[in-house]
Amino acid sequence: MNRMKICLVTMFICSIPLFAHADEAYQGDKACFACHKDMKQSYLDRAHGRVLSGAPRNDLEALGCEACHGAGKPHSDAMDKDENGPKMIEAFKKDTGLPEDKNKVCLKCHEKGKRMHWQGEAHDRAGLSCINCHTIHGANRSVSAEVCYSCHPKQRAEFQRASHIPVREGKMTCSNCHNPHGGKGPSLIKEASVNDLCYTCHAEKRGPFLWEHAPVRENCLNCHNPHGSIHQNLLKLKPPYLCQQQCHTPRNHPTNAYSGSNIVGGTASKIVAVGKSCLNCHSQVHGSNHPSGAVFQR
């Protein structure tokens, strides 16, 4: 028993320098602000500063700046010796360090909610770090579509097309549909399937209807390009070439070759070629609830 007590006392005494070392390595916010005066106000004005340096909820947050950047003393010691030498701190610079190391720091607190599935998702695999899109000390509250365009220029151009969703008008942004940190559905969309996502704004098309249109029930993208299209209503192709002739070839009118002869002013203008085309008659393509709506006319 005495040996046990001696061992415990010895372990306690030996461990004092370790604790002391750890405490000394963390210097507190004041030491940081002594040099980084320009950072102080923007940090304290934002949620990070308000919580970490104002009202921390746990021991990690109570470290203030050092909760994210790591212990400051090795950094200040190194800077005293050589300004151009190793910085000895996680500075979250885009051109230094590995993305996964930077992200680990953020995920300590933020690996939950929308960010729960970051690890292994497309943007993590692409080698992005949080700071590629987020300005931690900056004034931006949310990430704008412009940030996404830097890697996705095709989508930027699609939003400029005549038929588009109101992204360029500022009423929507990419994150209305996508969760860039890892969504439940394909292409990082926020919902489990494309249709589930579309129904969040277009609940009238959810049904279920008495008469379902099979490709519509499965995937809105069979017919629509959600980012923008040359053709009306975000359609991928001009009707009737989209509807009738890619999927419907029973006899008579769906099988005709509609050409310039069949538009208004042509030698044999046809109702299928003009106006709403197929939807002049088959208007309920998203589904019909009429007992005689089997061909989506009612």
Binding site: A157, S193, A203, E204, R206, Q246, S269, G275, H290
Partner: protein, 750 residues
């Protein structure tokens, strides 16, 4: 039905109350740590336009040749760690958004938000009906429906001319009807973090009203004697009067190693107008026709998400979800005339009783056992189960005709069964990334995607996708290249007769040609590649190129979509010549094309095998998008000028050809479909004092579109209408326009 004005005033009153509450809270505070800062901007906008155009107004919320109040604000009140933030955008126009958010940093947050989004669809539409926006559309008083011939086959233009003559004779006139939708939503939410940040609780509720008028095609028989043949189409103004309520609630438990979250979501959609009744302009019938409108529906969902961090930088995460969408609206009768409806028989059930369950399971394992290697494996199971009861419904074509007494006996084979379509997906994905050298990684991936479907031509497809990529992020340049190859095949023989599941009594099959392959389930070979290079020659400049190409081939398809492809090229650059000036520009060129194959067929069986009736069409879309902008700071930062220019042009060409036009019909060339837009925005700000900033902007926009499907088609001139079948159109063409918009404002910052 509630009036739009009642709703509007109700919503605005609620937002006014919120603003007043904020001001009273701010005024009452006198604590020593209290601080109020922010910015308020007021001004005016005038939009001058040469031709009023729905395309200009579309999502902007302003019309031409009108002046609008400009108002934006961002007020932040803080008291130690408590805050209250009021943000208002576009307060004077129909795109306004107001959000009030408060709480204690890191502890709890509450918010109220009001949002409005308009969508102008058409400002040139004209209708013969009165009552647009309501559930009953009427013809003009005194309109005589007997002037039209009965059985007017292939005399569409003549018919409409007679109709127009009748309108003119009765002194009736076409009515202008603006096609426009508007969403207004109010959202309230609360979230709280407790137990040292371990537990999060969130709840929010949203109420959205969507009102307005859009267009819908409706159809009636051209003659009383047949059950088929000539149809007459009318484009109707469809009333939109939707209300959607949403509720979200979640509770989450978070530790550094493990996280768990449970979420409940409810969406309830109600359509205040369940059907649309309209007077048949072509002839008197047994009853006035009725078309169904979107039915009320509900969706509920429960989601469980979790993640656990294991040793060796390994993480397992999952999502399990169960949802159910349901719709049980009372069904309309087969026929609007009760006597005629009896001829068709009794409905097998009185309401839809439609239900679809959805189940999701995502499991993701990611590991980085050593710094250079990462491995990710993912499994996804998504399943929809359509539980809607299946019955036989008599197919009554429309309300415009009185069915013969013998109808049920002679045409029972037209009965249709409502097939409960659903599908399930099982997808496994593996990705391996290996860092070859510093910041240069090789990526390899494989997907196996299996989709099973009910009542479809192909009940199961299996797809193998292989991916390889290389990406490098260096300080002076980054580059990447990716290649994908996919092969999708049906698991069983393609069954073109699957559609006949819905026609169990039919003796005269009305099926697709056996050579048709529907592209969404057809065998498919897919290839894609993309690459990008971004060079940063100096700290103040960057130049990038991005290219993406892809092809889909349908090797088993002889009729339908044969192939499609897309190509996208982007060049972008940014440059900061001096600290006060930043410049950026980009150009994107996109093309997509598809080729499809068809055969002109009639009810004569020989036409199904006559290759002389074959035709081919090629659809090609081209778009050019150019953007350029700058930010220039002058007078030591007192003045900022930001010019921005966008040019977007699209051209669609459709070519159709056939070897034998005596069988296929004369194939005249189709004009190109064109849209072209120039947008130049010059905005500037001048700091009058530290707190006061003067702002001004000028926007020039021109828009041109050419669309042979709608251009020039009007009831005013029946020679603009198709001649094969009667069509009474509604939607007019989109007017080209040149708009000049000026804005002046003053902002006070404190």
């Amino acid at each position: 039905m509630r009036s739009n004005n009642d709703r509007r005033s109700g919503m605005l009153n609620r937002s006014n109350i919120a603003v007043m509450a904020l001001i009273s809270v701010m005024g009452a505070s006198s604590a020593s740590f209290a601080e109020l800062k922010g910015e308020v901007e007021v001004g005016a906008t005038y939009a001058g336009i040469d031709h009023e155009s729905s395309k200009f107004s579309e999502y902007r919320g302003i019309r031409g040749n009108e002046t609008y109040f400009l108002g934006n604000l961002d007020l932040l009140y803080t008291d130690k760690n408590y805050y209250l933030n009021l943000i208002g955008k576009d307060l004077g126009i129909d795109t306004r958004n107001v959000r009030l958010e408060g709480g204690r940093y890191g502890r709890y947050t509450y918010f109220l938000e009001y949002d409005q989004t308009p969508k102008f669809i058409s400002n040139t539409s004209r209708t013969i009906f009165t009552g647009a926006g309501g559930a009953n559309l009427s013809l003009p008083a005194g309109y005589d429906r007997t002037v039209l011939p009965s059985g007017f086959s292939n005399v569409g233009r003549t018919t409409v001319t007679a109709l127009m003559n009748e309108l003119a004779a009765k002194g009736g006139s076409l009515h202008n009807v603006d096609l426009k939708l508007e969403r207004k939503s109010g959202t309230a939410g609360f979230s709280m973090t407790s137990f040292k940040g371990l537990v999060d609780f969130t709840v929010s509720a949203k109420h959205e009203e969507k009102d307005g008028i859009k267009s819908i095609g409706a159809v009636v028989q051209g003659s009383a004697e047949g059950q088929g043949g000539v149809r007459n189409s009318v484009i109707l103004p469809e009333p939109v009067d939707y209300v959607t309520d949403e509720l979200r609630a979640s509770v989450a438990y978070t530790r550094e190693k493990a996280q768990l979250e449970l979420e409940y979501y409810l969406s309830a959609f109600n359509n205040e107008t369940e059907s649309l009744k309209w007077q048949n302009p072509f002839r008197y019938g047994a009853a006035e026709p009725v078309i169904s409108l979107p039915p009320d529906n509900r969706y509920q969902r429960l989601t469980l998400s979790g993640g656990y961090n294991l040793p060796y930088n390994t993480r397992v995460s999952m999502v399990a979800e169960y949802g159910k969408m349901s719709q049980d609206q009372n069904l309309l009768p087969y026929h609007a005339d009760p006597n005629a409806a009896a001829t068709y028989g009794i409905l097998p059930r009185s309401s839809a009783k439609a239900e679809i369950e959805s189940k999701l399971l995502n499991v993701n394992v990611s590991s980085r056992p050593v710094s250079a290697l990462s491995v990710n494996a993912k499994y996804r199971h998504y399943d929809t189960v359509n539980m809607t009861p299946v019955n036989l419904f008599t197919y009554a074509m429309d309300d415009g005709i009185t069915p013969p007494a013998t109808y049920v006996a002679t045409t029972a084979n037209r009965s249709r069964r409502n097939d409960p379509f659903d599908y399930d997906q099982n997808k496994a994905t593996v990705d391996v990334s290996y860092r070859l050298i510093q910041k240069t990684a090789l990526n390899l991936g494989y997907d196996r995607d299996e989709i099973g479907r009910q009542h479809r031509e192909q009940e199961k497809t299996k797809e193998d996708i292989y991916r390889v990529g290389l990406k490098s992020n260096l300080s002076i340049a980054s580059a990447g290249v990716n290649y994908l190859k996919g092969k999708r095949r049906g698991d069983v023989a393609y069954n073109g007769n699957a559609i006949m599941d819905s026609h169990p009594l039919t003796t005269d099959p009305w099926v697709n040609h056996p050579d048709l392959r529907k592209f969404d389930v057809a065998d498919r070979d897919r290839e894609k590649y993309d690459y990008f290079v971004t060079v940063i020659p100096a700290k103040n400049a960057s130049l990038g190129i991005t290219v993406a190409n892809g092809w889909d081939q349908y090797p088993d398809t002889k009729m339908g979509l044969l192939n499609s492809d897309f190509r996208s090229y982007t060049v972008n650059a940014s440059y900061l010549p001096v600290q006060e000036v930043s410049l950026h520009t980009y150009y994107t060129y996109d093309t997509s094309s598809s080729k499809q194959y068809g055969r002109v067929m009639t009810s004569t069986a020989s036409t199904w095998t006559d290759t002389g009736r074959d035709w081919t069409s090629a659809n090609k879309d081209y778009t050019d998008t150019i953007g350029a902008g700058a930010t220039i700071s002058l007078l030591r930062g007192k003045m900022t000028i930001s010019p921005d220019y966008t040019y977007a042009r699209s051209i669609t060409t459709i070519d159709i050809w056939a070897a034998d036009q005596t069988k296929v019909g004369t194939l005249g060339p189709l004009p190109d479909l064109i849209t072209e837009r120039h947008t130049l925005n010059l905005s500037g700000k001048y700091k009058l004092t530290d707190k006061l900033t003067l702002g001004a902007s000028y926007l020039y926009e021109s828009y041109v579109s050419k669309d042979w499907a709608v251009d020039g088609m009007t009831l005013d001139n029946t020679s603009t209408l198709p001649i094969d079948k009667p069509l009474v159109p509604l939607s007019g063409s989109v007017p080209n326009y040149v708009a000049n918009v000026g804005t002046i404002s003053i902002a006070y910052k404190f």
